[in-house]
């Protein structure tokens, strides 16, 4: 699975993009975030405040119950501020 980080999430995690192999118990966005927090201290710190994190799966905004699968493009980022 391809993970993308934007804005301060990118800065805190320390990378813009990573390729991960999804363990079988991770089935949805909430599970993915839980699992990611265990990857490193930086991940744990960056993903601490879930209220400040938005998720897109395959370029659509989704909620915590949205399923994730091997092969998805999952992006994590703070609330957007365009315009």
């Amino acid at each position: 699975m391809k993970l993308l980080y934007f804005a301060w999430l990118r800065a805190r995690v320390g990378c813009a993009e990573e390729e991960v192999a999804l363990p079988p118990q991770v089935r949805d966005v909430a599970g993915l975030l839980d699992w990611l927090r265990g990857r490193s201290d930086r991940h744990a710190e960056a993903l601490r405040s879930l209220g400040l994190i938005r998720v897109a799966v395959n370029q659509d905004y989704v909620g915590p119950a949205h399923p994730v699968r091997e092969g998805d493009e999952v992006a994590l980022f703070p609330p957007v501020t365009g315009g």
Binding site: Q59, V80, T81, G82, G83
Partner: protein, 151 residues
């Protein structure tokens, strides 16, 4: 039409092109967003816009389609810049053209409101007290909500 670019744009030429040859159009509404030199109480020297390539184009196209579904529009243009900008620089141009003035005005307002909350851009300010990410504003969410559910 949607354009995402680093370069500046020529507002007069873009608006001219939008209506060229179409004499059904009675009104063109537009909005230009500019970089301000203040962020809260701090001086801003530069604003850097980051976006999510691929998703940004997709979201902008969805927002355009939604506006066209709600109002009778002969032309829609959204140009959004990214990269490092200075105070006074143009960030975004939204323009709508319609036979009817109200349709053009409302659709333009709608587009900029939705773009603020739905297009995946993030802004970082270079200020007198350092670099910092601009936070999303709850007012922007409220402005977007004004347009839902569909008319």
């Amino acid at each position: 039409m949607i354009r995402l670019q680093r370069e500046d744009f020529d507002v007069g030429a873009e608006l001219e092109r939008l209506t060229a040859g179409n004499h059904r159009i009675g009104g063109v509404a537009s909005f230009i967003g500019l970089v301000r030199d203040m962020g809260g109480s701090d001086r801003v020297f530069a604003l850097t816009l980051e976006h999510y390539p691929g998703m940004t184009e997709r979201k902008l196209a969805e927002i355009e389609a939604e506006a066209r579904r709600r109002w009778p529009l002969d032309a829609v243009l959204v140009i959004h810049r990214y990269g490092r900008l200075k105070p006074g620089d143009r960030i975004v141009l939204v323009a709508t053209a319609s036979p009817h003035r109200e349709a053009a005005l409302e659709a333009c307002h709608f587009l900029i409101d939705w773009l603020k909350t739905d297009a995946p851009f993030w802004k970082s300010e270079t200020t007198s007290v350092g670099e910092r990410w601009v936070e999303a504003r709850t007012e922007d969410d409220a402005a977007r909500e004004r347009w839902t559910p569909p008319l």
